[in-house]
């Protein structure tokens, strides 16, 4: 809508300019600003031609940035507002732009010059709202974790798919076939991987108790070492350190498709009864899920990658959708600290929903300020 108005205004200008120019108005408006919220690596030139293209077909900008030689840029007069970023690379660089207009006969007229010194900012105001929201979140989490530590009862609703875990493990034991646990194919810094490792702990404990063969093929080198620690600790906790070996969690390969090739290979050879696919997945999700299905395994999947969820939903027996994966990790560990953060998360979500609804209502009756000040990430 706004664009259209601008366009209309542009057209209007275009038609009325011949009359306006009789009053000797400037052929162009231009200004040079420091670009806000950066480290001073660029400044911006805003340029609006006012003369019609017939009178002044083009403009010449003589740009000098710091010590660099003057560069000449030719702008064809298209009658539109132009914002031109000029790279200074660092703060404290003086920038000068001399503007000349080119007349139809090719002669030049001086239109004046503008200058500015680039400067950097310590604070990026466009990140401030997110930062404040983050602080609020930290406060909520600390508050609820304290409450949880004091033994406050925190309710979490049942998550479908979690009850299936016990049955699936029991089934593997009955059939005497192994359990595969795939903690996603991403790195340690991915939240889904962390959530998956949290679920790996109770699963490994159960597996150790049942003495079921267990295998954790991993793709990322750092996740391997952490997974080994987690499995080892779980076997100790279950009182079966004798069953543990370092080879349970191993690096199957480091690339996307060689990993899925290797894992599907071992699935077909070892015929697991249960396969867990929890964590972050990319295109390989369906290769793993379908191979698991073809060897007759029960698949319990979960990921926060929305592009892979459809495949898990279609191919797997149970799927934890998005956030359910995180909630499951808190639910399974039953640790008050994790439950506390889940509660904090729900509260913040509630607050955001209320703000969201208020913003919609107020926006409808014409009060934009609420939405602009609370939801627009720009300052």
């Amino acid at each position: 809508m706004k664009k259209k108005i601008l366009l209309l205004m542009g057209c209007a200008l275009f038609f009325f300019l011949p009359f306006l120019s009789a009053q000797e108005s400037a052929p162009a408006e231009f200004a040079l600003h420091d670009t806000p919220n950066n480290a001073g690596e660029q400044v911006e030139l805003t340029f609006r031609p006012l003369a019609s293209p017939d009178e002044m077909p083009a403009f010449l900008l003589n740009i000098s940035i710091g010590e660099n030689p003057v560069r000449v840029r030719r702008l064809v007069n298209a009658g539109k507002l132009i914002i031109l970023p000029l790279i200074t690379r660092q703060a404290g660089v003086p920038v000068t732009v001399d503007v000349q207009g080119e007349l139809p006969d090719g002669s030049l007229v001086d239109l004046g010059s503008v200058n500015v010194v680039s400067k950097g900012e310590w604070l990026n105001m466009n990140s401030m709202k997110a930062f404040i929201l983050g602080l609020l979140f930290i406060g909520l989490i600390i508050f609820f974790v304290r409450g949880a530590k004091r033994g406050q009862e925190l309710f979490i609703r049942k998550i479908p798919g979690l009850e299936a875990i016990d049955d699936a493990l029991g089934r593997a034991t009955e059939m005497g076939r192994p359990v595969f646990y795939i903690p996603g194919t991403s790195t340690m810094a991915d939240v889904a991987t962390l959530a998956s490792l949290n679920i790996l702990r109770p699963v490994a404990r159960q597996v150790a108790k049942y003495e079921t063969p267990f295998s954790v093929p991993v793709k990322d080198p750092i996740v391997v070492s952490v997974a080994q620690d987690v499995v080892k600790e779980a076997y100790m906790a279950a009182g079966r350190p004798d069953l543990y070996e370092d080879g349970i969690a191993y690096l199957a390969s480091m690339g996307q498709f060689d990993y899925s090739g290797a894992v599907s290979g071992s699935m077909v050879r070892e015929k697991p009864a249960t396969v867990f696919l929890l964590g972050m997945f990319y295109a390989e999700s369906l290769i793993l899920a379908e191979t698991a299905n073809s060897v007759g395994a029960i698949q319990i999947a979960g990921t926060d990658a929305s592009s892979q969820l459809p495949f898990f939903i279609a191919a797997c027996d149970y799927t934890l959708i998005g956030e359910e994966l995180y909630a499951a990790s808190a639910y399974m560990s039953r640790e008050p600290l994790l439950l506390g953060t889940l509660k904090a998360q729900d509260i913040l979500k509630g607050i955001l929903l209320v703000v969201f609804i208020l913003a919609i209502i107020l926006q409808l009756i014409g009060l934009d300020f609420f939405m602009e000040s609370f939801l627009n990430p720009q300052w």
Binding site: R73, L75, I82, L84, P85, I87
Partner: protein, 334 residues
């Protein structure tokens, strides 16, 4: 729940073994590929417009042989979207080389630089186009906006050397054609949002006509630009590529005769081979290369048919599965 009779028709249909599904899938895709089945797609308006604009450019160049206009191609894609976008670049380059329209190009993505350069040499070889005279690949156009603005004055100041390391002032093509004044059409091939930036700058600032080649997924968002004429043409996905390919092939047959193989075999006979720098390509064809070159002429169209058959195959599978499922339900209720 009654006991299942494994021999009832619907039980059999409900449990089609996977290998059977796979084998049929294999044939459903392989046969159209093998028999070079081509869906002759009707040419949509937005692709026809690209072709027409190129032909207008050719007309203009015929009338102004000393003042030829070039086209500009931005290879803004990387190997991940190559399958869909390469056929478009091929068809565009073919059309340009067939009509002797000079081509200037760069890539806006660091991972697309090698790809774009290779594509250009590959197609240039089919028509004996000479690097530096008929086409130039500048390299990595970065920072994006600065690079576009450089095209408004003199691109040689921005690119002191091209991708291959030549001084841009030594390239004959860039002596005459170095800015937007002499560029007729701007192509942006991309799966990213780069075409929007091309519209903003090349069209918005300098009034250039922009043509976009995009992946099928992102094509939908460019239609608004077509309506406002900010883009004069659009190739979306394999289908768009196939349409343009079809138009260019018709033109090629018209100009070079219908026997493309013979044309390629004799292309370099009796030509002055000293003008070709073997660093870009060797001016002769091995039998393998002729094969590959022939196959490259209709990659997009040959992709279309198996694409459609595969979709219909799965749709039929789904229907069969559901019919069998309902038959079982009805039987169980009785």
């Amino acid at each position: 729940m009654m006991t299942k009779d494994k021999n009832v028709w619907y039980e059999k249909l409900l449990a089609i073994p996977k290998p059977v599904i796979y084998i049929i899938m294999f044939f459903v895709v392989a046969l159209p590929v093998l028999f070079k089945m081509q869906v002759s797609t009707y040419v949509t308006d937005e692709v026809q417009r690209i072709y027409d604009h190129m032909e207008q450019l050719y007309q203009y160049n015929q009338e102004n042989p000393d003042n030829k206009k070039a086209i500009f191609i931005a290879f803004d894609y990387d190997p991940a979207t190559m399958a869909e976008l390469d056929p478009m670049s091929f068809a565009t380059l073919r059309h340009a080389f067939l009509r002797g329209i000079p081509v200037i190009a760069w890539s806006g993505l660091p991972t697309g630089v090698d790809l774009g350069e290779q594509d250009m040499h590959l197609i240039a070889k089919d028509y004996g186009a000479v690097y530096g005279k008929d086409y130039v690949f500048l390299g990595y156009g970065y920072p994006f906006v600065q690079a576009i603005i450089a095209l408004a004055t003199d691109v040689k100041t921005f690119f002191a050397s091209d991708k291959a390391g030549n001084d841009t002032r030594d390239l004959p093509l860039l002596k005459n054609i170095y800015n937007f004044n002499r560029i007729g059409l701007v192509f942006s091939m991309s799966g990213t949002s780069y075409p929007e930036s091309w519209v903003t700058y090349a069209n918005g600032l300098y009034g250039k006509m922009v043509v976009t080649g995009s992946t099928a997924v992102s094509a939908a968002k460019y239609y608004p630009f077509l309506q406002t004429n900010q883009m004069v043409g659009l190739m979306g996905g394999l289908k768009g590529a196939a349409e343009y390919e079809q138009l260019v092939e018709r033109l090629e047959k018209e100009l070079n005769g219908s026997d493309v193989r013979a044309y390629l075999e004799t292309l370099y006979d009796g030509k002055d081979l000293s003008q070709y720098n073997t660093a870009y390509y060797t001016p002769e064809f091995t039998p393998e290369e002729i094969q590959l070159s022939l196959a490259r002429r209709n990659t997009a169209r040959q992709g279309m048919a198996p694409q459609a058959t595969a979709h219909f195959y799965v749709i039929i599978l789904i229907i069969i599965g559901n019919i069998a499922y309902f038959a079982r339900m009805r039987n169980n209720k009785r």
